[in-house]
């Protein structure tokens, strides 16, 4: 009886110990896991946009873009224009800078949306959609956004895509030609100016053109005429120009904007890709001198392409920076008093504007939500969401793990003695039976891990590449701490057991087996020591 008790006791100790060990390792793995999550969150961020984008009608997009554009246009005051003419520089005029950033953001967004599609056919569809958006913008007389969209579509990263162009219907190409004619810089934007002047009522001018006019007038006309008289003509000319722009702010567009959509667009337009990165992606989509191979992979590897195409060597620092920037943009918009918190209400608004609104925040908190929580939420949500975009085909097989293993999907422990979970034969991902069908990560067949120090424990299917994640090498100090803690627990519990047994044996009925007991306990201690050494040897 006692023996059985003791055995169970020791087994439970060992369990505790295993837990301790795995706890530390899990933390380590969590860390690397997070890093890789960031990679995916970063890439899936793009898809998150496209996901919703598919459901949006061109007129909706046009209306919301116009809403944003008008808002930003209205912020520019008379004084800002004056300042711009004087300094010829954006440094001290944040509202103007933001307006330009919005314009550039839209062009980049257009390019990225087209380039994010894996096949020429799909890219042509997005291209066509944007042409329809452009038509709508033209009807609304929002010339600034029209310029941004058409400029994006005409950008060399898009116009060089021959395969895509071949899939675009001819009438769409015709419309694009009409648009480029309208916006042509030829004869100093003559076509645009005519259309612009004809229109009475709501219109958003191509701000760049008018800023250029202001600069040109300022440069061409001298400040003073003969006899040191102030050149009134010049002042008059500048005033007329600026005033015209200011007057336009009085006429709001007739549209109803969906707040959530506006939030989504605002975040989507907060792009941070450089021209080079977009260009690289363009090359990845349709390489320069290869016409023969069809640019249609069997499985659309958007995620993988994003990582390799945009940033060939994604290092965790830049990636976390990118995610951080995304969160920053949330705070930029919603942290009204700058205390680093976003209200629950605002947060729900943000969350609702993304397609992953079904994802519930882990911590049910009242009131304010801080930066870390939002970052975690976005990472998790976009990761889960991203699975909707593409087929995440893993090659899962039931597996018996010889060592404690955690689910890579939900981070939970894989319980059981045999057949604890499933392991992907291609990428080495481990997960629960239930999680198998909801894995939020793409199977990365191609990128095999090389230095798999923290790869999942050797399982019944050795020889398969380890899990494709950022790998952290354990330093010797980590091992020491780990060893120290695990042995500390062992000794502590051994001592406790010894003490209890001693107490029991002296007080109760086991006087006779006392010596036996002590011998048994000793052997147990030796066993525990061996166990420690074993554990140590595995992980070192």
């Amino acid at each position: 009886m006692l023996l059985i008790n003791l055995c169970s006791l020791y087994i439970s100790f060992e369990l505790v110990c295993l837990w301790c060990v795995s706890f530390f390792f899990r933390n380590e793995r969590d860390w690397s896991w997070k890093a890789s999550q960031k990679i995916k969150a970063n890439s899936s961020k793009k898809r998150k946009v496209s996901l919703l984008f598919d459901h949006l009608e061109p007129f909706e997009l046009a209306e919301h873009l116009t809403f944003l554009e008008f808002k930003s246009f209205c912020r520019i005051s008379f004084g800002d224009y004056q300042k711009y003419i004087r300094s010829c520089c954006m440094k001290d005029i944040p509202v103007m800078e933001r307006s330009i950033a919005l314009c550039n953001g839209i062009s980049q967004w257009v390019q990225l949306m087209v380039l994010s599609r894996p096949t020429a056919q799909l890219r042509a569809e997005v291209f066509t959609k944007f042409i329809h958006v452009a038509q709508r913008l033209h009807l609304m007389h929002n010339y600034n956004t029209l310029m941004a969209v058409v400029g994006g579509l005409c950008h060399s990263s898009i116009s060089r895509l021959k395969d895509t162009t071949s899939h675009v219907p001819s009438e769409v190409t015709k419309v694009l030609n009409e648009m480029t004619d309208l916006l042509s810089s030829c004869r100093n934007f003559d076509n645009y100016r005519q259309a612009y002047n004809k229109r009475i009522g709501f219109k958003i001018p191509i701000l760049g053109v008018h800023l250029k006019d202001l600069i040109s007038v300022n440069e061409a006309m001298s400040d003073y005429v003969e006899d040191n008289k102030v050149n009134v003509q010049k002042l008059q000319a500048l005033y007329t120009h600026i005033n015209e722009l200011i007057q336009l702010q009085e006429i709001p567009p007739r549209l109803e904007a969906n707040k959530d959509l506006v939030h989504l667009l605002t975040l989507s337009l907060d792009l941070y890709y450089t021209e080079d990165e977009i260009y690289e992606l363009s090359y990845a989509r349709e390489p320069k001198n290869c016409k023969a191979p069809p640019a249609t992979p069997s499985r659309p590897p958007v995620c993988v392409d994003w990582v390799s195409g945009v940033a060939p060597k994604p290092d965790p620092r830049t990636i976390s920076k990118h995610v951080q920037r995304m969160v920053d943009s949330v705070f930029k918009n919603y942290d009204h008093d700058g205390k680093g918190f976003v209200s629950q209400e605002d947060f729900e608004k943000i969350a609702a504007s993304f397609p992953f609104s079904f994802c519930v925040m882990d911590k049910e908190k009242e009131g304010l939500i801080n930066r870390e929580e939002i970052t975690a939420y976005f990472l998790r949500a976009s990761v889960i969401c991203s699975k909707l975009g593409l087929g995440f085909v893993h090659n899962f097989q039931e597996t018996t793990y010889m060592k404690p293993t955690f689910c890579d999907n939900c981070s939970g422990f894989l319980w059981g003695v045999i057949k604890q979970g499933y392991r992907c034969r291609d990428c080495g991902m481990n997960c629960h039976k239930l999680c198998k069908d909801q894995v939020a990560f793409e199977c990365k067949k191609n990128s095999k891990m090389t230095n798999s120090v923290d790869s999942p424990t050797p399982s019944s299917t050795p020889g398969f590449p380890g899990f494709v994640h950022k790998v952290t090498r354990y330093t010797s100090s980590d091992i020491c701490i780990l060893f120290f803690f695990s042995s500390f627990f062992f000794y502590f519990f051994s001592f406790l057991v010894f003490f209890i047994l001693h107490f029991i044996s002296t007080r109760f009925i086991f006087e006779k087996v006392k010596v036996e007991n002590i011998v048994f306990i000793k052997s147990c201690c030796v066993y525990i020591l061996k166990e420690i050494i074993y554990q140590f040897s595995i992980y070192f």
């Binding site: 711009y84 010829c88 520089c89 954006m90 330009i100 314009c103 550039n104 839209i106 062009s107 980049q108 310029m147 941004a148 969209v149 058409v150 400029g151 994006g152 005409c154 950008h155 060399s156 116009s159 030609n177 480029t180 004619d181 916006l183 042509s184 810089s185 030829c186 004869r187 100093n188 934007f189 003559d190 100016r193 005519q194 191509i206 760049g208 053109v209 800023l211 250029k212 006019d213 600069i215 040109s216 007038v217 440069e219 061409a220 006309m221 003509q233 000319a237 007329t240 120009h241 021209e275 260009y279």
Partner: protein, 211 residues
Amino acid sequence: MGSDDSYNFVFKVVLIGESGVGKSNLLSRFTKNEFTHDSRTTIGVEFSTRTVQLDNFTIKAQIWDTAGLERYRAITSAYYRGAVGALLVYDISKHLTYESAERWLKELYDHADPHIVVMLVGNKKDLESLRTVPTEEAKDFAEKNGLMYMETSALDSTNVEAAFNEVLTAIHTKVASREVTRGSISAVTLSSLVGPSSEAKEEQKGCCQRS
């Protein structure tokens, strides 16, 4: 035809470089005589042109100034279209503006004709005491990239005429030697206007109607 106003070639030349390096000043220096001061009529009409005489040819230089437009990515592709010459301007007293020259160059080659004639221009030569970009350094850079090089001052007009004229001459030489052939973007401008007889047509057509 045959009158003083007629011309044999229209060359589109673009001014690029960081904002604040004095592109607009350079332009206004060069085209002052042809710039109508009444802004209401100027704007909307092609402006910033100047006709120069090279050898026996009359060349109409159509100079495009970004004047702040360089910040708008969407406009750049339209802006470079059909350009046969470019002046890449930096400020000799601001090293940062020089450092970005490489980026500008890349962008230019991305969007414009590969045969484009480019001149690296160090502006604000009058600020010699504040110089941070050594002439030699810029010259080396220009040589390595096959660019022409000159230092100018829009303030006191030093080398402004010379810079533009040199670029126009280089373009003209290229066209004359048929280096730029029909079919490339700029060729429409360049080769369709060999005889003065087609000038009227060319005037209507412009150089940038489409590519």
